[in-house]
Symmetry: C2
Subunit: 116 residues, 2 copies
Amino acid sequence: MNALPTLEPSTEEACCTPAGQPALGADEAKQKSLVFKALADPNRLRLLSMVKAESSGESCVCDLTASLDLGQPTVSHHLKILVDSGLLHREKRGTWAYYSLVPGALDDVAGLLTTL
Amino acid sequence: MNALPTLEPSTEEACCTPAGQPALGADEAKQKSLVFKALADPNRLRLLSMVKAESSGESCVCDLTASLDLGQPTVSHHLKILVDSGLLHREKRGTWAYYSLVPGALDDVAGLLTTL
DNA sequence: CCCATACATTGATGCTGGTCAATATTCAGG
DNA sequence: CCTGAATATTGACCAGCATCAATGTATGGG
């Protein structure tokens, strides 16, 4: 939750053209890279796609595990990463856990790209 | 370059609600994850940001290396990954190599997210 | 209570990826 | 040509991550 600017001093004399623009600070870049790390795995992309494709808007782990030739612990692990990155929402009802897309989360990531 | 659908058989009897949607195939997901892998590193995000912030639209390696307390080989490595993923363009003029954003590339990635 | 089911957690393992030192390549100048 | 500067490539090292087996934790049914 640290949004410090951390502007680089830009202490170069000459070469091409001096880059006076602030660009991204080190901590800011590290923060933004977390979401892309979450998206950088094929199985997690498939999980997101499956949850999104579900007509009810939510999926349980048993359903997702069946479609992803992966072990159940591995699927739970991926789902946790997606929840921690703010992309998925988890709701437990009875013995089952239902995962759903956080509204607008994917659009927010798309916005991150255009405001690099 | 393989765009086979690879639909999963969806052989589950019942649980919550059956996911009849195609969603993402394994190879399709692997393909799309490559761009996000390229974006999943803080230093590469900073490189993209620096190139974008440059008023001339392009930056040379010497300039980028000076701002990123990283070794020159490491910066070249990251730039190669960004070029291979289709985000940056490389043009060599004389001894210098100038990198620029591929027009529309970031918007295409944003589009990938909404069409998951 | 006891057991089965659905899911999460832990620990271990193998592989991918980021980084650097050293070297190679390419180009401009003298 | 020869030298120096800018960049790319190679090889090696270490951290991080994806995966699985085993176990733990609820929850519901009998």
